[in-house]
Amino acid sequence: MKIGIMSFAHHHAEAYIANLRAIPGVELCGVADEDPVRGQRFAQAYNAPFFQTYEALLESKPDGVIICTENSKHLPLVEMAASSKINVLCEKPIATTVADAKRVVDVCARAGVLLMTAFPMRFSTPLMEVKSRLDSGELGQVYCFNGTNQGELPTKHRAWFVDPALAGGGAIMDHTVHLVDIMRWYLGSEAMEVYAQTNKIFHASEVEVETGGLEMITFKNGVFATIDTSWCRPPYWPTWGGLTFEMVTERGAVIVDGFKQNITVYSHANQRPIWQYWGSDMNQAMVGEFVSAIREGREPSVTGVDGLRAVEVVAAAYDSAQAGQPVKVQQV
């Protein structure tokens, strides 16, 4: 099976190269980038076949592509891939507006290609363990969540993460979708209403977008949940940030840290502790699921609609931050 990578705008593209190469029977057939210099540089660094254009990559007939452009540019690449009848794994958030996200889903459905949203937390072994305990009934009824998806300013990875035109927003756009998706997955219920507050106190002089964000989401089944999306971690934090949640049920609470499986390294070279993650590679499992879904000709376990539902919550969060009151989530 041949899989290609479209764009290195998102730094995850680099991880996906290694993930693809680790799967038996899968060939990283090529990479392309609208910025040929960047594309060639990464192609060379990872010893991957380089295509001058996206069209050329798609004409080589891969079985699937992983789209790693900036958030607002996912749609045109998804349209290209779909019209070439090529299956898509799209970086999150799948779009910066609900209209674009809907179109991403629609063009893939019409073309009859698989569309998977890159929500790697679905493949986190600690989170999967909690999901199975929840499904077994041992935790009883869920009442609420207290979640955090905090990070450092992501410009360390790529400058466009704080460009409103390319990223679609700041901390709310970047860090709402993972926890929304986890909660939808755990609860089997859709978000109904969102309250959000944002500010720009961290890195105030460096960026235009919000860097602090707190949200309270209410689901149709009555469960409520907060998400802290803030880019509040200093650049000398032991790692990039993290994702945690406390899930409160009738039996008590389960506190989950998706990135707790670390060794702490103190090195003269760094002059600060660094957490090195030893937990299982969730990206590997996610890319593996994309490949398996293509092989088996079935829907992936995380769909484009999952990506769309998360974008709907983001849109409502921005509306609420403007209004200062909770806003209903509009499902399209």
Binding site: Q141, C144, P326
Partner: protein
């Protein structure tokens, strides 16, 4: 200075231990029943009074450690008798009550000291001092967690009667409402939810609140009565534009017990504790004693106690209505 205590519950016991560490004359106690007061009376050689009115002539200071809904009436009674007052948190069950208490004490010319003990916990006071020194810059997003088990009582569990205690948003989370305001300033709006609103028969409770401060900072506050006894866990995170402060009682516990216990008995109400030379409750009573002697200024004013009640009341209203609640400024409330 003669001190009389009202209330012999877990907080009365805690304050009594603090008074014993001062030079004040700790003379009397009032409790709901004489039986409840007996142990404390014996330990500290206190006279047991049948009610507050009969104790007032014999004391200079009244320390009110009764259920929340009784604070207002007892404060007014003590103020009318020109006694200085120490009152457990929350200052009043409502903002209106708290304002009334402040007004009564001002008119009577007596001191009103509100026991927000969190300000006396060394780690909390140290984090506040670090912010004041500018070590983390301007606070942007603050996270405050306080979690324990649902308060138990042998009889008459007033904690679970929201008309008396205000429930988890008032009784437990007011600690962190006050602390948030101490660190990041006055609050503009509150949005909150709690488990027992949608699930009145839930065996646990858990509250979440989002505060927007007038200076733009945001605070996320968690209150839990969902953990198994004897858990008591607190956590603070203050992220600023120049750094980050954090501590978690689970991470700073200097002793980890992995010993077999004969029984896992727990107190009625969870209390945070870490082995330190002086209990923060005692530090608080000692500071209040110095304030009453006119030797120093308290780190908390009665108006701060009212402001915390105002935030908690807004949280209760938000949870009930599903809307964010905009707060009146303190000067508006007091005028």
């Amino acid at each position: 200075m003669r001190v009389g205590l009202v209330g012999a519950g877990f907080m009365g016991v805690t304050h009594a231990a603090g008074w014993a560490e001062t030079d004040a004359e700790f003379v009397g106690i009032v409790a709901e029943t004489t039986a409840e007061a007996t142990a404390l009376a014996k330990q500290y050689s206190l006279k047991i009074y049948p009610d507050l009115a009969s104790m007032l002539p014999d004391v200079d200071v009244v320390d009110i450690c009764t259920p929340t809904h009784l604070h207002h009436e007892m404060t007014l009674q003590a103020a009318a008798a020109k006694k200085d007052i120490i009152c457990e948190k929350p200052l009043g069950r409502t903002t209106a009550q708290a304002r009334d208490m402040i007004e009564a004490c001002r008119k009577a010319g007596v001191k009103l000291l509100v026991a927000h003990v969190v300000r006396f916990f060394t780690e909390y006071a140290m984090a506040k001092a670090s912010v004041v020194r500018g070590e983390v810059g301007k606070p942007g997003v603050i996270r405050l967690n306080r979690g324990s088990f649902r308060p138990k009582k042998p009889a008459g569990n007033w904690f679970l009667d929201e008309t008396k205690s205000g429930g988890i948003l008032m009784d437990l989370m007011i600690h962190d409402f006050d602390y948030a305001r101490w660190v990041a300033g006055d609050v503009e709006s509150v949005f909150a939810k709690k488990v027992t609103t949608a699930n009145p028969n839930a065996p646990v409770d858990y509250g979440l609140a989002i505060l927007k401060h007038r200076n733009g900072a945001l605070t996320h506050i968690v209150g839990s009565w969902a953990y198994p006894p004897p858990t008591f866990r607190t956590r603070v995170e203050i992220a600023g534009d120049g750094g980050l402060i954090e501590f978690d009682s689970a991470d700073t516990a200097p002793i980890i017990n992995l010993v077999a216990k004969p029984s896992s008995d727990s107190p009625d109400v969870g209390l945070p504790s870490s082995p330190v030379a002086e209990s923060p409750y005692t530090t608080q009573i000692k500071e209040f004693y110095s304030v009453l002697l006119g030797e120093k200024q308290p780190r908390i004013q009665a108006e701060d106690g009212m402001a915390a009640v105002q935030i908690a009341e807004a949280a209760i209203r938000s949870a009930a209505t599903g809307q964010a609640v905009i707060l009146e400024s303190l000067s508006e409330v007091l005028s």
